[in-house]
Point group: C2
Chain length 438, copies 2
Amino acid sequence: MKEVRIGFVGLGTVGAGALAALTAEPETIARKAGTPLRVTRAAVRDPELPRPVDLNGVALTTDALAVATDPEIDLVVEVMGGVGLAREVVSAALRAGKSVVTANKELIAKHGRELFALADQHGADLAFEGSVGGGIPIIAPLGHGLTANRVHQVVGIINGTTNYILSAMTRSGQPFDQLLAEAQAKGYAEADPTDDVEGHDAAYKLTILAMLAFNTAVAEEQVYREGISSLQPEDIALAHQLGYVFKLLAVAKDRGDRLELRVSPCLVPEKHPLASVNDVYNAIFIEAEPVGQVMFYGRGAGADPTGSAVAGDIVAVARNLGRGGRRGYPLAFDDQRPVATLDQIESSYYVRMRIVDRAGVLATLAGVLGDHGVSIAQVLQTAHNDCDCGCDCAGAELVWITHHTTEASIRDSLSVMRGLDVVNCICNVYRCFGVDGD
Amino acid sequence: MKEVRIGFVGLGTVGAGALAALTAEPETIARKAGTPLRVTRAAVRDPELPRPVDLNGVALTTDALAVATDPEIDLVVEVMGGVGLAREVVSAALRAGKSVVTANKELIAKHGRELFALADQHGADLAFEGSVGGGIPIIAPLGHGLTANRVHQVVGIINGTTNYILSAMTRSGQPFDQLLAEAQAKGYAEADPTDDVEGHDAAYKLTILAMLAFNTAVAEEQVYREGISSLQPEDIALAHQLGYVFKLLAVAKDRGDRLELRVSPCLVPEKHPLASVNDVYNAIFIEAEPVGQVMFYGRGAGADPTGSAVAGDIVAVARNLGRGGRRGYPLAFDDQRPVATLDQIESSYYVRMRIVDRAGVLATLAGVLGDHGVSIAQVLQTAHNDCDCGCDCAGAELVWITHHTTEASIRDSLSVMRGLDVVNCICNVYRCFGVDGD
């Protein structure tokens, strides 16, 4: 192959970042790819918009499908986002036998199965390193380097916006709303932050990681999801007193006959490697056999990190094209495994409540937990009386950290406690991670 | 390809680990490799030795070269170690057009250039993920995923034995000799520990990382090397007081016209991600453009982690063989860059000395540093009088942490200080990492 001709679909933050990485040292890149790379065409919404990259030699169009099917293009880079037109673009390119590089997590999470089949059918590569963890190489290590392992769990801090807000809450003690506004002002959160703060973005990424880790088709709706917006500064302070920090964790666990898939704020012991992953950094922690524990850490989003991942994929795919081959991913979707229901989730738990401060109450409540087979790891009772949980409750504040149990046992216990007149309010319940050896 | 036939050369710790990983779930592995894998032959020193793996169907021999050149074998796994026979074995296999998987850091560090050329010449793959960082995927991420980056520095904790000893020294305050003996008793250190504690092992690994990061040929003798055996409990305690922990760091930096390559005990700020990498864990921290900072963490040695890496390579190479291709590594050795001399090394420094405790001494010494352009970041003076540095010195203990400077400036300053009658002893000098934005 004399040169690999590349068409971009989308030239926003990630597209411009990837293009800049590709063209910074074109000779080095050509040497690594084994062939010169030339970006010949790009589809953009507004060709007049000024962009922070040199577009010399790049023909702009507004027709995304024209780039995808252009016979003069060997490799299509889809960085437009969304799952409507992007799905059409990627499908059309693969059908035309072109290899595709994408950073579109929603697309891979929702339609990956169909797109990988198309790629196989047409002998094309479909690379998606940029879809999870920004610049952190995680897709290739999980799909290739760790391929001889049986994965027990993948646990990620894979959303930069929420990690930035949680880190700021932990440092400053200020409430969620205020720090969300600050993150928006700094460009770390969108005007409509739902996708990030309610955990949708993390759920897409977890779906992709679970597919690779467990060789099974996973639908993003199967991921149980809780966001960080109800987290109170008081929970963060209490967690700190007990030796934990709050992180929005995306957790995929092999539970033998089923998978457990969830995104929710969790308490992480301060000494766990995930606890010190702060601000916009991401990390993916994997426990597998025989490798043991491995962790991958880096910046999880933005033009530069994600551009690095997309450009790395472009070089790898171009290298394959030059050698007349393709790399593919060892994805096997025939291992269809059921996903745990909410009740079946196993974890240790943090429960904060307000109780009537009189003799015997603690024993009564501990008895309720015991009746449901829930054993207690830590207890903290304080006398302070102002509660920030939004209700009018008062009384002594009581925090439990339980040993491993099921979500059903916790919910049943709490439902019994709610009926007791010594319990004023169950303020908040969160899962813990890294306790009891998980 | 109906099946890929594999020959092992060596079946010690790593070989047995890789074989166990390959054969634990053969159908899953075959699906991932796209072809069944069959280990047909293995060369071992003593065929009678009992081994912890199932060798059913594996013909044992003592003739390593016979396995390397066996026409019935497609893929040779070299896990015997050393650079004598191992080099012959790998060369012979590549010359016969067979792909090779190795975990031999010394071989790749010393003869990688020649072996990669042989692989290219004969259209064979040469994979070496297991040579650095045990089970941590680092070779592929550096060579492929981050390939579109310009690497500024690679900094690794890449020797498990020394990290185990340093972690134990930090926790217990006990001296090096005692904890080395403990590590030996636990099997974490060899009977002759020189290779690990004097930094040879880390230097081999750094050589490999530097070749990949900077696309340049590096000889392992170009790595400046200091071990951990002269480190005193007092240095560790003082570092802690100043907010640092000691780690044996392997550092490769791009200094523009030259590379800086060194292995030595360094002070790392307690908040740096590398500071919390303890015991037998390894981590490789990379700073590159555009990706920013990324870190890879996991167990750095042993049958299981390294077996995982070797088995991952075997699956990847088999996958390539099945598709009639090879993957190769984008190594380009034509960028021959000079390596910094010791004097040219740039760092911030920790200096511990004993001084005569009288007015004006601190000013005199600070003046000497200033005369050499060395600026001071932190100073700690204590009155305590027993020194553990081995000389008969006494006096007040004084510790400097400097800002970035050159090794030459530090050495010149210290040489002037040694001539002053207010200085009783320069006890120890170490480099710091992660200070002044490095």
